[in-house]
Symmetry: C3
Subunit: 300 residues, 3 copies
């Protein structure tokens, strides 16, 4: 049985297979035809923490495949409150559904669920741990515009110390040796050593050089609560993307963001050709369709 728990479990061939499947799913979506690939199958979304975006895109994906959904968006109100373990929840849910998408506040819950579940588990984010389905949609977004096998410069900007999206994405990009990674963040929230590889570069300011030479800039929110107030005040403008800065990017470069954004990108940037973050969000649908099909072994 296949699960999607961590970026670590996928090699280059797996990744390319899934990206290719996502492309096929995009063609199905574009055709506007009714798809019944997953007819009669049920996805359970089981979210300890609310997350509109991730939950709804999983549920959209399953329904676009012709399947149906049972949904829990705030588990803390229910059986878990009574003290149920993630193992018990997973065993019960796997008696109902054919596949489970799980979001949890703590690292390791998805792996623990996968150990006992009778059906595939899709990790929809486990605390400060991993968020592999987000990484697949990020990779898929990049792959629509760039060949991952050819030289490519990806700069990750903002909150790098705790951000599970950049951690998972950087791990996946290691499968593509021509991709160069820059980590751009104030020192206090720079990338942890274990994610920093030989050949990577660290920057502490968002310089013109980064703007001008990156093919992909992956921006994330600087979370106020994880950084000293004076550090936040010092950097918040330096790391703010406005039209002037984004216009310095190459015309075919892309600015990504996992959303929701708060103040880190001006709304005016949305109209620039480099702004790809809403398209990126939308890519959650074909990518999660692909991942559901992948773990369920559906014929596409």
């Amino acid at each position: 049985m296949k699960h999607v728990i961590s970026a670590d479990q996928f090699n280059k061939d797996d990744i390319l297979e899934i990206l290719n499947l996502a492309k096929k799913m995009d063609e199905i979506l574009a055709s506007k035809k009714v798809c019944k690939i997953a007819e009669g199958k049920i996805l359970a979304t089981f979210f300890y923490e609310p997350s509109t975006r991730t939950r709804l895109s999983f549920e959209t994906a399953m329904q676009r495949l012709g399947g149906s959904v049972i949904s829990t968006s705030n588990v803390n109100f229910s059986s878990v409150k009574k003290g149920e373990t993630i193992e018990d929840s997973a065993k019960v849910l796997s008696g109902y559904a054919d596949v489970i998408a799980l979001r949890s506040p703590e690292i390791g819950y998805a792996a623990r669920a996968a150990k006992v579940s009778a059906v595939p588990i899709l990790n929809g984010g486990d605390g400060a741990g991993e968020h592999p389905t987000q990484s697949f949609l990020d990779l898929y977004t990049i792959s629509k515009y760039f060949d991952l096998e050819k030289p490519l410069t990806v700069s990750m900007v903002g909150e790098l110390i705790c951000g599970r999206t950049v951690h998972s994405l950087s791990k996946m990009l290691r499968n593509f040796p021509n991709v160069k990674i820059n980590f751009v963040a104030p020192e206090e929230i720079q990338i942890p050593a274990k994610y920093f590889h030989e050949g990577d570069k660290k920057f502490y300011e968002l310089t013109d050089e980064i703007l001008e030479t990156s093919d992909v800039i992956y921006d994330t929110r600087i979370q106020k609560e994880r950084i000293a107030p004076e550090v936040y005040e010092k950097h918040k403008n330096a790391f703010h993307f406005d039209v002037a800065k984004v216009s310095k990017m190459k015309p075919n470069a892309m600015l990504m963001h996992p959303l929701p954004r708060v103040t880190e990108i001006s709304p005016e940037v949305d109209d620039l050709p480099q702004a790809r973050y809403f398209e990126q969000a939308r890519n959650g649908v074909p990518t999660r369709m692909a991942l559901i099909a992948y773990v369920l072994g559906l014929e596409v």
Copy 2:
């Protein structure tokens, strides 16, 4: 692209087209046949405030059409809590769903969403603003028993100062010049000047004359919190509908209420022929089916 944001956007022809569509939807419902008009389409319900009635009737409508639903009933727990704007939420959701029903606590959110959304927006109530899909179901309920083109007396009773349902309904009724409107409420919560037109009448008591001459009485809840306690105490009984009062209405007249009611109508009234408020609630389904079909341009 069509949206349903405000009562202002519909002229008489639009209204009649939608009421006619609702009638066809009622026939589909009555036939008990499986309908696939919206097969493969997804409705997103995105409710900042919980509203069982409105949300469930939208979701019922979409499923009766053969489509499916992604649902968020309490947005405050999720991305919005992190500071996402309605514009960003609408852009993201419109990458998932084919049509979005939105309920928000503040005026103008639906219009702001419509400006940026890639798919139609249905305003499911925006604070003290508008609630046009409610007005359509109200109008549809009236139109099942009365010809809107002929002389008709509609009395709106109760909370008129802030009630978005009566505001939207009164606007729509302006398209039918033979409809006479009475506004019946204590002075403190009477209809705002901008909704009061030449030919309308104001009353400050629920008199026998109103009961005996109205074809339609549209009652709403007097919300304690919007009125001084002594005014509430003075009027609460005067505006209470019991069997004695409702029996004074014409036999074919109708008593409507947007529900939920609390104390303003006695449960015993439910059995009288004039009581139409549960039928009115049920009409939310064919009406919202019609509105979904209208904005999506579905073949009926």
Copy 3:
């Protein structure tokens, strides 16, 4: 019109009919074929209290039948908060859905809803009252391994004073005179007199005799808040099921639990052949499919 409100409404023939229907549903599930028995039908789940397990298994059941679902998992946030009665909620919901599954915090809500609803009501638990659909899944689980018409010893263990699952189950078992019931609990939380029948036995300790002679042990959570702390401390270990104790059970005996469990059964017990509680949970699906088909009169 049929409702499922109380264990009292079912005689032996009804019960056997429903268990037989559940067996057919299990065959449909095992066949992995797409089922359309309830296509076009809508189940409303209306839960005042959150209950992941019960709600999701109802929703799974309806979708496995090919129907669809409208869902409210925390009614307190919505119209009920505005003061709506259960009668009004039921009248409105029955204008939307074809069948309603209701969970309420207070005894009698399901019966009140059934009195006014235009569609069947399934009682998904009403406070300390009844939980008949749970009893059917419990009975179905027992009936898969034992003939209810032949001699059988069922021991109910733990919280017996307020536990609606044991109350409803004991009532249903009265239809099968060869079933002997033991009630095993500290005196403070023993079975109320009205559920204790001639021929039943009471025990105040979980003895080897009970372990060795029972065909079915139905364990429930001892709820700390319903018992004096010193009583809880005294009994919590005595009523704890570990591998040593469960191994004393007959090889073909079964240990059941309505879940969620907290500390009353060690996770290591899960691997023993007597452990049937996850299978029991899974049986919620075919049983609730059967009950939906039963009240809707669906052809199976």
